[in-house]
């Protein structure tokens, strides 16, 4: 079967729009958004066609173009269309389209208008290439390209130093993860002789139990590969210890945060683990590692989110925490549940961010929630959509977040993987915390009295339709997207799990119904308790959190300062590197050695030529003497 046209259009229309907008966008002025919007909407329609095809059983795995082939290494651009890809395509294109439309309103007067849209197109292209790839090299290409787009978009307002720094931080921290990821791909090629998924996954069963000699230690091969690949996921999806870039990435414009740092790029790590599930499933150690890191990050990020005061930071830490849920799911073997949460999370998290953007826009670029309050009457649409998103993330029954989070917790509890029950416990506690901080944010922003300045109060207005319509559409997704995965015990037939089973397998563990009910009840109760606590703390008795803060000042400081991780990294890694660069590399290697050679060789030549120049002293007899010596030597040679 050959490559259908819609599949080719999906990534390459945004690429064309990127190039076009970058080159000609300046001339289009305020109309520069049309090419990208048309491109991404067309991609969305094509993604729908792809989904339809996949529902009817089509699977495509073709190389579009082979860049080069050397022995058995084939570097090619290829597309793999299966259920997992179809889901990702829908998520990426739909959220991207809505963010494009939202940006028309949000970035309205920005001087870099066309640049923004061209970068958005670049990002969409990169993410689609990542998702559609049928080999590791294309995955890596998409990986790096989304990293690049992220850097460009985070540092979009490059005149601001904090934004430029944040962009650099994102890229550099990601490099740490990508180093392991690259090594993993190299080992995959060395062992399996190919980097195409089909070949690798077919052979992965043959190398179970083989050991790899790494610096003298014998490591299980599958575990090594899985852990290295996971390194990349840790970097890209902001898990511990490489989570530090995501909160700083909030320096970028809010639509960027919604698209990249909530719905799509950061989920690439989860996608990676789900796509490579044949490898991960064969290594108990790797799965445990994924689960534990997921659980720890989940807890860690949620505790920080409890006390943050910047509206976008709270949502950013919430993203880290929710991504951790997805990793917990993948770690315990329930990849389908992880992708399910990825899908629902994309909608409600993007909605939260875009709603926050609407609030920021109304508040004349104020982001501190201590200065907000009572915005309910000024921003009605934002208020309602934000409420729906918060309900969804808190796991209130009926909303999509409930179904996906519940699935994960149930699978974690039932899983035979060792860390499963630990992860379930953490996950449930964090569910409560999630509800708490989400509603803390909600109440502080929209309820109560307005705490801002008079100047800001005068400008409060609901956002234009280009911004509110995407909010409404996303709200529909936040509520209803999960309805395709309603579990059996509630009457649904869990279409989702069956749909993805072909790619990610079906978890082999089941719970009996009473346990499942009990778990569901626990998580709902915890969530509702969190909401209730937030209500009490921030609406009824606002002096309680203040007194708590004063009673535990150290704890509060630690949480407010994000556990001082950034400071630790700065002291342990950044400062020594800068010192080494300045004192060793610049001063000695560059200054003395290389400059010495570069300046020294001409100096040497100069000195040598000065010596030689003495030979030409203008005396004819001197020259004659030299000629005589030469003739004399020649005579001796020929004699």
């Amino acid at each position: 079967m050959n490559m259908p046209l819609y599949l080719i259009l999906i990534p390459f229309l945004p690429l064309a729009s990127f190039i076009f907008t970058l080159l000609f966008g300046k001339n289009l002025g305020q109309k520069a958004h049309w090419p990208p919007i048309i491109a991404v909407l067309t991609s969305f329609v094509c993604a729908l066609i792809a989904l339809n095809d996949v529902l009817h059983g089509t699977h495509i795995n073709l190389d579009l173009y082979t860049w080069f082939e050397s022995e058995n290494f084939r570097a090619s651009v290829g597309f793999l269309l299966d259920e997992l890809t179809a889901v990702m395509l829908i998520v990426v294109t739909s959220v991207s389209s809505l963010v494009h439309i939202y940006s028309v309103g949000y970035m309205h007067d920005d001087p870099g208008y066309y640049r923004f849209f061209s970068y958005l197109s670049l990002f969409t292209f990169s993410m689609l290439m990542l998702v559609l790839g049928n080999n590791f090299l294309q995955l890596y290409f998409g990986w790096e390209a989304v990293g690049l787009s992220s850097y460009l978009l985070i540092g979009f307002w490059y005149h601001k130093k904090s934004a430029a720094d944040a962009g650099k931080k994102a890229f550099i921290v990601n490099r740490f993860g990508d180093f392991g990821f690259g090594l993993g791909i190299i080992i995959v090629y060395l062992i399996f002789g190919s980097i195409h998924y089909e070949t690798v996954f077919a052979q992965v069963g043959d190398v179970v139990g083989q050991n790899f000699n790494f610096l003298g230690f014998n490591v299980d091969l599958i575990t090594l590969i899985a852990i290295l690949l996971f390194c990349g996921a840790v970097g890209k999806s902001a898990q511990i210890p490489l989570h530090v870039w995501l909160p700083d990435a909030m320096e970028g414009p809010t639509p960027v945060s919604a698209l990249i740092h909530a719905a799509t790029m950061v989920t690439a790590g989860v996608f990676l683990v789900a796509r490579c599930n044949p490898i991960f499933s064969l290594s108990e150690t790797a799965l445990n590692l994924v689960t534990i890191i997921g659980a720890l990050t989940c807890f860690f990020a949620a505790t920080i989110a409890l006390v943050q005061v910047d509206i976008k930071r709270v949502i950013a830490y919430s993203t880290v925490s929710q991504l951790a849920y997805m990793f917990i799911a993948c770690g315990v073997g329930a990849y389908g549940a992880g992708i399910f949460h990825l899908y629902t999370h994309a909608y409600f998290k993007a909605l939260l961010f875009l709603g926050a953007g609407s609030v920021i826009h109304a508040m004349s670029d104020e982001q501190d929630i201590r200065k907000m309050g009572g915005l309910k009457k000024y921003l009605p649409i934002t208020y309602i959509t934000f409420l729906l998103a918060s309900l969804s993330i808190s796991g209130v029954p009926g909303f999509s977040g409930f179904f996906s989070k519940d699935e994960i917790l149930a699978m974690a509890f039932a899983s035979p993987v060792g860390a499963g029950k630990f992860a379930w416990f953490i996950g449930t506690v964090v569910a409560g915390m999630t509800a708490f901080y989400s509603f803390r944010l909600f109440f502080l922003t929209f309820h109560g009295e307005f705490r801002g300045t008079e100047e800001q109060k005068k400008h409060l207005h609901e956002s234009p339709p280009t911004m509110t319509i995407p909010l409404i559409l996303l709200a529909i997704g936040a509520v209803a997207a999960g309805w395709v995965g309603i579990p059996e015990i509630l009457g649904g037939s869990n279409h989702w799990a069956h749909f993805l089973a072909g790619v990610v397998g079906h978890p082999h563990f089941h719970l009996d119904h009473s346990t499942e009910w009990a778990l569901m009840f626990t998580s709902v109760a915890v969530g509702l308790f969190g909401i209730f606590l937030a209500y009490v703390f921030y609406l009824k008795k606002p002096e309680i959190p203040v007194r708590l803060g004063q009673a535990f000042p150290t704890l509060y400081q630690i949480l407010f300062n994000k556990y001082y991780v950034d400071e630790f990294y700065s002291a342990a890694i950044v400062q020594p590197t800068i010192r080494c660069a300045r004192n060793v590399l610049t001063a000695i290697t560059d200054g003395k050695i290389i400059e010495g050679i570069v300046n020294g060789i001409p100096r040497l030549i100069g000195n040598f030529s000065t010596i030689l120049a003495k030979l030409q002293n203008g005396r004819v007899q001197h020259y004659a003497a030299i000629m005589a010596v030469g003739a004399f030597i020649l005579l001796w040679i020929f004699m």
Partner: protein, 171 residues
């Protein structure tokens, strides 16, 4: 008898040569050169080459040395005879090079073998007279070098005039 003459000529030539090179007064050197040329002519006579001897005396002694004398009188200053005739810096280098070359030549002479004999034996030359023999050789086999030598002399004449004439004022 021939050997005696040879030794006389040889010692005279070498002695005169050393004297020429070491002399302070250049005019003395030129006059000693004149005597040296006569002894060279003597050598040629020993070698049965009377034409060459004649040419030597006429051209070298008669023309070239006169030319040298004229130019010497034109350019030599009175103070010349008071200072050392040798350059300060290169004296010993020159000496060593000369000695080295001499040693090399001696080595060469020791390994020297003569080529095949030609047709102009001594009896033939004596019979023809050397001049006629030379004429036979030059005007038949070596006519081209002869013409070129004429051309070279022409160039020398023209060059000499061009180099030595004075610039006319206002020409």
């Amino acid at each position: 008898m021939v050997q005696l003459l040879f030794f006389y000529f040889a010692i005279a030539v070498i002695g005169l040569g050393i004297a020429i090179v070491n002399s302070k007064n250049p005019v003395h050197s030129v006059l000693m050169m004149l005597v040296l040329f006569f002894h060279m002519a003597g050598f040629y006579l020993l070698l049965n080459a009377e034409f060459l001897a004649a040419v030597q005396v006429i051209v070298y002694a008669g023309a070239i040395l006169v030319l040298y004398l004229f130019v010497l009188f034109l350019v030599t200053l009175k103070e010349e005879v008071k200072i050392s005739p040798f350059i300060q810096k290169g004296y010993w280098l020159g000496f060593i090079i000369a000695i080295g070359m001499f040693v090399t030549f001696i080595k060469g002479i020791q390994n020297f073998t003569l080529g095949p004999h030609g047709e102009y034996t001594i009896e033939t030359i004596q019979h023809l007279t050397h001049t006629k023999a030379m004429g036979k050789a030059i005007y038949t086999t070596y006519i081209l070098p002869f013409e070129i030598a004429g051309l070279i002399l022409l160039i020398a004449v023209i060059g000499g005039i061009a180099l030595a004439k004075r610039e006319r004022e206002g020409a």
